[in-house]
């Protein structure tokens, strides 16, 4: 990590203060994959005083997508009339019958897009094909996906479909806490999810589970400050949801983005890798848009698939195990030849450990 000139000093001060406040063993979970990467790049785990452990949670939309959903996308992609659109990180995630990248190598029309803006453009440009957008993402991305659905409707495109696979963060945190296995003492909450949803959806963490949470930015100093704010709450015996990332996160989130998301989607139970089915943690198209739902239009049954043998992704996503605990880590499972999604995604915990390895957690 290249720290800016004046930063190491500020960081040292923050780390000193953090060390001063740590009283007993403490486990803080960062929920977001972008945090995981920042924490590793900046070497923040190694700066933490003894007793303070940072653990990674289920925070990457690619990693939490279960194998059965990948299989559905691969099956669709293999149909001759279909163009399948996906964000890049999903290409190499292994399904039980190969990945999207393999399907493409075998002739399927799979295309990587950077934005839902492109999805609508492709559907318009290929009127004789059925264009399916395999949509993954958390609340940060879902408003843009909602735009694509509404825009396809506005332009009268009859060949645009959505394979909706988005997930919502607060229900996953609730499921983790209700399972009661992670032993987390506080949450470093995701900054960009919170730009959209604001502070209120996390209040249950403090009210029902008595734990603090801080909505945190992604600069090394942001993260150190977020940790410090958590420790101050602990010290003062408080449990509240606070915002460190003030420059981007408003109390109420982004009402325009939330409004569009709610107009197009409704919450539904959804499966997460490692966490199973979680109530109201996914999004399905509302009735007015349901003819664009690829699952219905193409009659795609869901088949439950077990994780690859030996892969500990499920436990890693719950913060129960660390990548080095996996017998395949670095031996059989590497970013070049990944076995589980935590090694495929650039924000996966296994990939972060592998790339910036040697830092003890």
């Amino acid at each position: 990590m290249n720290w800016k000139r004046e930063e190491p000093e500020a960081a040292r001060a923050l780390v000193k203060e953090i060390a001063r406040l740590v009283e007993g063993p403490l486990r803080l979970m960062e929920v977001c994959g972008t945090h995981t990467v920042s924490i590793f790049r900046a070497g923040i785990r190694a700066m933490m005083p003894p007793g303070l452990e940072l653990i990674s949670g289920p925070g990457c939309p690619v990693c939490v997508t279960p194998t059965g959903e990948i299989d559905r996308a691969v099956e669709l992609a293999r149909r001759p009339e279909v163009v399948l659109l996906t964000f890049g990180d999903l290409m190499r995630v292994p399904g039980s019958r190969g990945s999207l990248a393999q399907a493409r190598a075998e002739g399927a029309d799979v295309r990587v897009i950077l934005s839902p803006l492109d999805a609508v453009a492709v559907a318009e440009g290929e009127p004789r094909k059925k264009v399916v957008f395999f949509a993954v993402g958390f609340e940060t991305t879902s408003p843009a996906i909602a735009w694509a659905v509404k825009e396809a409707r506005r332009r009268g495109l009859e060949n645009f479909y959505l394979l909706p696979c988005q997930r919502l963060i607060p229900p996953a945190i609730r499921a983790l806490l209700s399972a009661g296995r992670t032993g987390v003492d506080g949450f470093i909450l995701p900054g960009h999810v919170s730009v959209i949803i604001g502070r209120a959806p996390y209040l249950f963490i403090a009210r029902e589970f008595g734990l603090p949470g801080v909505i945190t930015g992604f600069e090394p100093l942001d993260i150190l400050e977020g940790i410090l704010m958590l420790l101050r709450q602990k010290k003062e015996g408080r449990a509240a949801i606070e915002i460190q990332y003030r420059r981007a996160v408003k109390e109420e989130g982004n009402p325009l983005a939330l409004g569009l998301m709610e107009e197009v989607f409704r919450p539904a139970d959804a499966r997460w890798r490692g966490l199973g089915s979680i109530p109201s943690s996914g999004l399905l198209l509302r009735d007015g848009f349901s003819e664009m739902d690829a699952v219905q239009a193409f009659d795609l049954p869901y088949e439950e698939v077990k994780d690859p043998p030996g892969c500990l992704c499920g436990e890693i996503l719950q913060g129960l195990k660390r990548p080095p605990d996996c017998p395949l880590f670095g031996r059989g499972c590497t970013p070049e030849a990944p076995i589980g999604p935590c090694m495929v995604s650039s924000e996966g915990t296994c990939a972060a450990y592998y790339k910036y390895g040697g830092i003890s957690a």
Partner: protein, 80 residues
Amino acid sequence: MCLGIPCKVVSKGGDFAEVDFGGVKRQVSLLFCPEAEVGDYVLVHVGFAIQRLEEEDALQTLRLLQELGEQYLELEEGGA
């Protein structure tokens, strides 16, 4: 995947704006951020501005996020 990259708005027309991301010009939607004006910094995620930022703050976060952004784009292109 929830990366947001601070970009400066260089021109604006309707729901869309042209932004400067480390010298590269990109079209982004202002649907969720209609108040952004030319010269403002906005947080951009998958082609959409999701929040307007104060300039000073944007400059502060720009470097790390650009680094991450490049890595992310490389990976996306690598998959393409």
